[in-house]
């Protein structure tokens, strides 16, 4: 798949001397949903701001649709729609006026039919004449998405799109994003909700302390780094683990009623068979077993801790 955004050796040092981005190299594929994960202050917003033209890079190069964001900024920027993290809106404007303003700002001729479609897709049509100040937080967020989509961008940046949005609305937002992807828009989202990345993304990038720690297909990432956990529910309670089981590094939980065994699905041997054999040899009886796959959240926490 071809890259629609190509970031090469990008660094950003703020006036204070703080290095927000350190030699970032990243390619975003056309048509994908790319989730950028990272703790607060990792550099997610700085990276987006540079690509969109809001901040100047210190070093490096960014191409958007093959156009350099500095020398060919008009072409590059007209491909992008940006929904920033904070709800920045013109409080006293109507929804229709503010969305139409955005389209004009991006140099597109008037197209009421398109604006109507965007507002309808985002369930804002009945609010089109309302002043933004009268809208709820979730609606304001959708107004910002509508503004970003007003000029028919090929790329949409969503910086924390569902921060502070309730569960119901968040799911609605995911539907909108999926719909956009189906219409051919490439989507880059940053999020704190790992669940969101897990649910939505095709690929995941993890950024920490200004460096890209990892970029991977979501499924590959889950398989590659996924650890599984076997929980053994015992028939009786154990006071202590027998010496013969010490190599398995088991945890005795629930006051001795369950044994927890973490294993790596990547490994040639998971050790389950021998563990079960050794349990029997030790005379430990159990009445149930279950396994769980570690979530993206666990993977993420691990990565950020070790990087």
């Amino acid at each position: 798949m071809s890259s629609i955004i190509s970031v090469a050796n990008l660094s950003k040092t703020y006036g204070s001397g703080f290095k927000a981005l350190k030699n970032i190299n990243l390619d975003i594929r056309r048509g994908e949903i790319f989730a950028l994960l990272g703790p607060n202050g990792a550099g997610k917003t700085t990276l987006i701001s540079i690509i969109c033209g809001i901040a100047n890079p210190s070093e490096g190069r960014v191409l958007v649709g093959g156009e350099d964001i500095q020398t060919s900024y008009r072409k590059a920027r007209s491909l992008i729609g940006l929904v920033p993290q904070e709800l920045h809106t013109d409080a006293f404007e109507s929804v229709w006026a503010t969305v139409s303003f955005s389209r004009g700002l991006f140099g597109k001729p008037k197209n009421p039919a398109h604006i109507e479609k965007v507002l309808k897709d985002l369930s804002l049509w009945d609010k089109k004449d309302n002043k933004i100040i009268t809208l709820s937080g979730g609606m304001k967020r959708r107004v910002m998405i509508a503004k970003a989509l007003s000029h028919e961008p090929q790329i949409l940046f969503l910086d924390e799109p569902t921060a502070g949005v309730d569960v119901e609305l968040r799911k609605g937002m995911w539907e909108v994003v999926r719909g956009l992807q189906q219409s051919g828009v490439t989507i880059i989202l940053t999020t704190h909700y790992i669940e969101e990345a897990e649910e939505m993304a095709d690929r995941i990038g993890v950024i920490n302390k200004g460096e890209i720690v990892l970029v991977e297909d979501k499924t590959t990432l889950m398989q590659k780094l996924g650890r599984k956990r076997l929980t053994v529910h015992l028939q009786g309670k154990l006071a202590a683990l027998p010496e013969s089981l010490s190599p398995y590094k088991l945890d005795l939980c629930d006051g001795g009623a369950t044994l927890v065994y973490d294993y790596d699905t990547k490994g040639e041997r998971t050790g389950i068979t021998s563990l079960l054999g050794d349990l029997r040899t030790a005379g430990i009886r159990f009445n149930d077993l279950d396994t769980t796959q570690s979530s993206l959240e666990d993977i993420f926490v691990d990565l950020v801790r070790t990087s």
Partner: protein, 253 residues
């Protein structure tokens, strides 16, 4: 050139004027009328004529300039400061629009408002005193030149300000005193020799003098000096705006 973007910014800013019609248009007209009552009627009755023109008529160009200067600065500084304050500036910065086009949109709208305002005040003045404009084209030229220059100056203040206090500070502490001392209400010939020299250091003197000349053909300094000084100030403002965008000063960190 992204014409549609310039138009979008321009119309957006103009729409703000219509929404805030009371502050934007009505209040300057009311305050100007008060100046006429206080200066024209109360004080004017004690000053018979200034260089062959009745005092009430004499102060008209100065009063228009006073409003045009302060309103150009206020409109343009607020126009660009407000998106910075609310954060909506992100959209302007991420749009496919050049710095020149941004300035054209904001400064164009601010200048348009002040020109309209100047003409409304002129019409209001006509209700109080008889007016005759000797050089209407020059009058308009000075009006437009001043509105554009001080809108640019306001734009610079709006970018520089990082709080509402700063937004008010320059207009209050620098521009208003300079305007009052710039011969809005008197001819600098009426000053003692020492103060006259000091007054010539005030750039506003040249604006008001030139503008008054276009009305009554009386001037404190020669017209060409007035035009030269106004243009010089315009060029300085343009240079600062160019520098702001080149460096991203207070806009892009």
């Amino acid at each position: 050139m992204n014409h549609r973007a310039i138009r979008a910014i321009y119309l957006f800013e103009m729409a703000r004027t219509w929404r805030t019609l009371l502050q934007s248009i009505v209040s300057p007209v009311v305050s100007t009328s008060l100046y006429f009552v206080v200066f024209g009627a109360a004080i004017g009755s004690r000053i018979s004529e200034v260089e062959g023109v009745s005092y009430g008529t004499f102060i008209v160009p100065g009063l228009i300039m006073l409003s045009v200067l302060t309103q150009s600065i206020a409109n343009a500084s607020f126009g660009i400061y407000f998106p910075k304050f609310t954060g909506t500036i992100y959209e302007i910065l991420s749009a496919p629009i050049s710095h020149f086009e941004i300035v054209l949109g904001y400064v164009g709208a601010a200048a348009t408002k002040s020109i309209i305002l100047g003409l409304i005040i002129l019409a209001t003045a006509g209700l109080f005193v008889p007016l005759h404009i000797h050089h209407p084209v020059w009058m308009l030229t000075f009006l437009v030149l001043t509105a554009v220059t001080f809108s640019l100056f306001g734009f610079i203040i709006g970018i520089w300000a990082d709080g509402f206090e700063k937004l008010q500070m320059i207009p209050m502490l620098v521009v208003t005193p300079l305007t009052f001392l710039g011969g809005s209400f008197y001819s600098i010939d009426m000053l003692p020799q020492g103060w006259r020299t000091v007054a010539l250091l005030n750039p506003v003197v040249y604006l008001i003098s030139g503008f008054r000349w276009s009305f009554y053909e009386i001037a404190d300094v020669s017209v060409s000096v007035s035009i030269g000084m106004t243009t010089a100030f315009l060029v300085i403002c343009l240079a600062i705006v160019w520098w702001i965008f080149r460096t991203g000063y207070r806009l892009k960190n």
